[in-house]
């Protein structure tokens, strides 16, 4: 298989922040909003360079979403960002009515998503946001895997007209995707080709899936490994073709099994290519305090958990 390497570990939120800094200089239409977490979501440089286009609304997430919708009416491209839980569940009705149903060009940028927030515990660990957002008509849902991809995705959604939910996180993770990549919304990325099992991974789980794939390949199990950075619209052709080829599927995400990417895949396949599937995801429980690594391991969201899931699904073939 292709050997994936990295020279450094970086946080995906910094990919977002560095792209925002670039966008600020490239595109006068870009305005940024945050709710008292400027540094945490890496908007500090934009704020310094473009104070007239930067709006720290204070701790008012609902007001922030409405304001973002309003900016779009004046031709702006608003990027609103805070922690994933506070920009999804807390403001679901505002997003539903003022953004999604109103078809507004608002970029909802969710940092600190998933279990890897770690020590802050369950109140801050958004594990339902993919489900909440994918259920909204008009909403695009993207969960890039590393720094470079998050940066590319941020630049790409500025060019896309319509509401987007961009999900990223806090921990430093291997930065292995090319720094010059062009991000295509809705287009999965084939990381390895094989005929025995399909692994579809998103976000932080993509690197773990690569590690699992290396081990499986060394045992002679050939993995079709795909990075599904866009959960909605799902790359239906790629998913169906891969499942047809392998006859066994494992989905991997840092999210509740209920409502996650795995269910999008199983729903698609149930209609088009019924296929046994295992879900590497949080099994309908809240998170808790701990290091990100400990929590991911506890819930089986790592290379070892993915490896075991592959063994389970292969037994069903």
């Amino acid at each position: 298989m292709t050997k994936y390497t990295y020279s450094d570990k970086k946080d995906t939120r910094s990919g977002f922040g560095d792209a925002i800094t670039e966008l600020g200089n490239q595109n006068e239409k870009v305005v940024c909003l945050t709710a008292d977490v400027t540094g945490s979501v890496k908007m500090g440089t934009f704020a310094k360079q473009h104070p007239e286009r930067f709006f720290n609304v204070g701790i008012q997430e609902a007001n922030m979403i409405g304001m973002a919708a309003g900016f779009s009416l004046e031709g702006k491209i608003p990027f609103a960002s805070t922690f994933a839980e506070f920009i999804s569940g807390r403001v679901y009705d505002q997003i539903r009515q003022s953004v999604a149903y109103s078809e507004k060009n608002v970029k909802i940028c969710a940092s600190h998503s998933g279990l890897t927030v770690g020590e802050d515990g369950a109140t801050h660990q958004a594990l339902e946001d993919i489900g909440l957002m994918k259920m909204l008509p008009n909403m695009v849902v993207i969960n890039p895997c590393d720094y470079n991809q998050t940066k590319a995705a941020t630049l790409a959604i500025a060019q896309y007209e319509g509401p987007v939910y961009l999900r990223f996180g806090r921990p430093k993770v291997p930065n292995f995707t090319p720094d010059n990549q062009v991000f295509e919304i809705g287009k999965g990325i084939q990381l390895n080709e094989g005929n025995d099992v399909s692994i579809f991974a998103t976000g932080h789980l993509v690197w773990e899936a690569i590690q699992a794939t290396e081990k499986l390949e060394s045992e002679g199990i050939h993995v079709d490994l795909i990075n599904l950075h866009t959960i909605k619209p799902l790359d239906a052709n790629m998913v169906i073709d891969s499942a047809k080829k392998t006859g066994a599927v494992v989905s991997c995400e840092e999210h509740n099994r209920l409502g996650g990417m795995g269910e999008s895949i199983s729903g698609l396949l149930a209609q088009n290519q019924p296929t046994p599937q295992e879900f590497v995801a949080v099994n309908d429980v809240f998170g808790e305090s701990g290091t990100g690594e400990e929590l991911m391991h506890k819930h089986g969201l790592d290379a070892e958990g993915i490896y075991k899931a592959v063994k389970r699904v292969l037994a069903k073939k």
């Binding site: 031709g75 009515q97 109103s102």
Partner: protein, 279 residues
């Protein structure tokens, strides 16, 4: 060019007929704010109905935050030339652009944001207002809210923000009729001294005591315009009567969301002169 006063009974006729035709909708708040809508759309705002764009740059903007009073909103928009008056007959029907609550989905001219779930319009207006400042657009942003709607927490986030950040190209009007679905606002959850509350949040407050007197409403809104650009957002407390214009509706909160039966429709229409032609 119609006499401005001619719109008042005609828009009320439209409201009665639209709600009766489909046996649903919200006539009470609609009837009470006819003078406000007429003043705003025919006199106060600088707008471009013939060439409506979702992008609001270059004109005044109105956002309806209490989205349920679509009957008065749609009638006013149609009679101001945003879309054909005949389309009012499609109100709330399958396939209509005139959804029960405002929607942009079907491209109805005049609508820029969905509303209905209460409390969101002032936040949207803040984005528009600050966008206009960035664009160096001197036009103003207007909103309308129900007084019951002010019980929503998001309203007070926006009120705090607007005052603290001196968003002074914004005029937020409250339909101050002391009525909501379950009864009087004072009984359900009193707003207390509303003027004092807005003032405490650094707003300039104007009372329009006769909210169902067209001249008074025009004068009050002109005064509100004069108060913009002075480092404070402007709140207008528009004292209206729910159901104004039809004797058996006036001041009765039960008419918030109740349709007319045939007899009530006839009684209501008998009190409202057909001045500009029914749809």
């Amino acid at each position: 060019m119609a006499n401005l006063a001619d719109y008042l009974p005609q828009v009320r006729r439209d409201i009665v007929r639209m709600v009766h035709d489909v046996q649903s909708g919200h006539p009470g708040g609609s009837m009470g704010t006819v003078e406000f809508f007429t003043a705003l759309f025919h006199k106060i705002m600088d707008i471009n109905p013939e060439n409506f764009k979702i992008n609001s740059t270059g004109e005044d903007v109105f956002l309806l935050s209490n989205g349920h009073i679509t009957p008065v909103y749609y009638s006013t928009l149609a009679r101001r030339g945003y879309f054909p008056i005949s389309e009012l007959s499609s109100f709330r029907r399958l396939g209509s652009r005139l959804q029960g609550h405002p929607s942009v989905h079907d491209g109805l001219p005049g609508i820029r944001i969905a509303s209905g779930s209460l409390g969101q319009g002032l936040s949207v207006a803040l984005g528009v207002a600050q966008g206009k400042k960035i664009n160096n657009d001197k036009h103003l942003v207007y909103t309308l809210h129900g007084d019951g709607e002010l019980q929503e927490g998001q309203i007070w986030e926006a009120v705090l923000y607007a005052g603290a950040k001196k968003v002074d190209n914004l005029i937020a009007t409250v339909d101050y009729n002391n009525a909501q679905i379950d009864g009087k606002v004072d009984d359900v959850l009193s707003l207390g001294n509303l003027r004092a509350k807005f003032e405490a949040f650094n707003w300039h407050v104007i009372d329009i005591k006769e909210g169902n007197n067209l001249d008074a409403v025009i004068a009050g809104l002109e005064e509100a315009k004069n108060q913009t650009g002075k480092q404070k957002p402007v709140a207008v407390l528009l004292h209206t009567k729910m159901g104004y214009g039809v004797d058996f509706m006036q001041g009765d909160y039960h008419w918030h969301g109740k349709p007319f039966n045939d007899v009530q429709r006839d009684q209501a229409l008998a009190q409202l002169k057909e001045t500009l032609g029914d749809y």
